[in-house]
Every structure is written in structure tokens, then in C-alpha cells.
Symmetry: C2
Subunit: 95 residues, 2 copies
Amino acid sequence: MSDRLQGEARKDALAELENWQEVSGRDAITRSLRFADFNAAFGFMSRVALKAEQMGHHPEWFNVFNRVDITLSTHDAGGLTALDVKLAKFIDSLA
Amino acid sequence: MSDRLQGEARKDALAELENWQEVSGRDAITRSLRFADFNAAFGFMSRVALKAEQMGHHPEWFNVFNRVDITLSTHDAGGLTALDVKLAKFIDSLA
């Protein structure tokens, strides 16, 4: 299992994820993305789903039409871990 | 475009959708589903996505691991229409 990021390690990780915001009241990060249409939005979600399943680490996400809101946190660790950073970077690579 | 359901037509439609709850403060319906795991949850979402795209009518939905929360309403009509009833019945047929 991945350990919760603390102190400098956490700060450095967040500095790399410039498209992501910290979630108020939770040790989690969030990003909202918009696509051309539902086809593009769900296509993106499918690519993230395959990666998430491979990693054994899944997002919390909301979709309506062309919009996808994603929240990442590691439930087992009670906050952000390297798994969230890895999945966030994968998402950024698609967006 | 589908017309917003009113009066008896709306009442009859909701009576058929016993797995769905009305959303407070909106003319919309919601259902929460749980699956064995993420694979099953996202597999279900993929089947709904294909149907939604074919219908040109899409859900609002949230997923975390094995849980999928779905809200249906027709934005263009400002509330529930026959499209929502059709999509809800399709979802029920999968669940």
C-alpha cells in the first residue's frame, strides 16, 4: 500500500500537479475537464478506467454530458499518496 | 424534443419506476447502484453510455469504486420527460 504524502513530499507532489486543486476539508485533489461532447468525455473516462483498474486505484468522478469532475484520494491511507499523483499525471497526459 | 411530463402522465411514469427516487428541489429522478467491484460498475456505465449516446440523452452520474449514483432529467425541457423514463427502464433492465 502507498503511504500518505506528508510535509515536503506532499508539497513537491502538489507543485507538479498544476492543473489540480486541493479539496477543502479533505486530503484530496480535484480537476474538472470539459470535452467536445459526451463521446469524447466518456472516451476519456474509459481510458482512465482501464488505467485505474490496472493500478488497482480508482477515481471518484462525476460526469454530465461533456464535463468530467475528478477527485483523487487514497481511501485506505486516509489521504493523498503516490498513487494519486501517478493517476493525476496519467489524466493530465490525456487531457 | 420530448415534452416535460405533467400531471397524471408524470405520476404514472414515476409509479412504473419503483427503483427511482424523486430529487428534492429538482424535477429529476435518482437511483444508486452497487456492484461487485469497479470492473462491474464501469462495465455497467459503458453499457448505459452506449445507450445514452444512441438516444442522444445522457445521465448525470457519480462513480466511486463499485457505486454508481445516477440522476436523470431532461435539461432542454427543464424536467422529466419520456426520454428519462426510457433511459431509467434501460438501466433497470441491466441492474
